[in-house]
Symmetry: C2
Subunit: 151 residues, 2 copies
Amino acid sequence: MDFERADALNQAVRLLSLRHRARAAALLAPLGLHPGQEALLLELSRSGPMIQAQLSEALGCEPPSVTIMTRKLEATGHIRRAPAPSDKRASVVELTESGEALAGQVKLLWCALAEETVAGLPAETVAELPGILTAMTGNVDTRRPRRSRER
Amino acid sequence: MDFERADALNQAVRLLSLRHRARAAALLAPLGLHPGQEALLLELSRSGPMIQAQLSEALGCEPPSVTIMTRKLEATGHIRRAPAPSDKRASVVELTESGEALAGQVKLLWCALAEETVAGLPAETVAELPGILTAMTGNVDTRRPRRSRER
DNA sequence: CGGATAATGTTATGCGCATAACCAACCTGT
DNA sequence: ACAGGTTGGTTATGCGCATAACATTATCCG
């Protein structure tokens, strides 16, 4: 691929990251959330209580990041951490009532953000977008170097 | 749009951002660069010497970020800052010789990264990807609230 | 068994990004 | 010509992310 095209693509990804995150930040600010935290709440809302290692996996970020984020969300009262009964190392984290309420708010914003993001694009394109983006993500994902032969 | 679809889309964007950036970081590390810095070098390589405000505009990040990044790239000797002759407030920044060499290296990596990113996608999709991503970026861009009437 | 290895979580540190507050220099307009 | 607003840049602070180094607990195996 020539540099022009490559640059256009890489830069497009970078700018989309920046602006999409900035827009999310603007929408989440009234709820007192910073971008990234909503993903944690949504994941807990989707899958129920889970251990930090699982959160790290689901969110696609490293354990130290999860430690910090959970600490802050615990401080603001949206999640709760308790020692896991079966493993003295682990701590299971779950939504509090206020956290569940907040997750509900986030879901509304999330729909608005998605619609805003793909406004004006042909419906067909919108339909295949998640698949395309996920494929691209998989192409550059270095988090699971093993496991490439999975069935 | 229902929450399922919206969530799939927003999450896909978030994960692509994380992984694409992480992959870029891994490629740039051998050059001693952190992700984000390559954009500054490439912009200078594209457009020649320019003022920090223009860099801020081109990179899509805020002036304080540019201040820090230029300071670090100056410390590593890849760029040079000089007072602007026509405006005592401004400082024009340009690549040094080592900066130009580094930009050349980055261009090679950039092509590799782009190819890696779109591997396996149909050529047609790849062709329209930059346009799609740029359109999405424009949809959520809150940086230019003015200028909306530019057809 | 018991010792090596793996997995969970934390602290420390650093980078890119953001906002808010501020100074200095450059326009304006009346 | 000068008061007031605008623009260019910096500092301070905070967040999400990363890696490296570490302590603790689980697990595997000879």
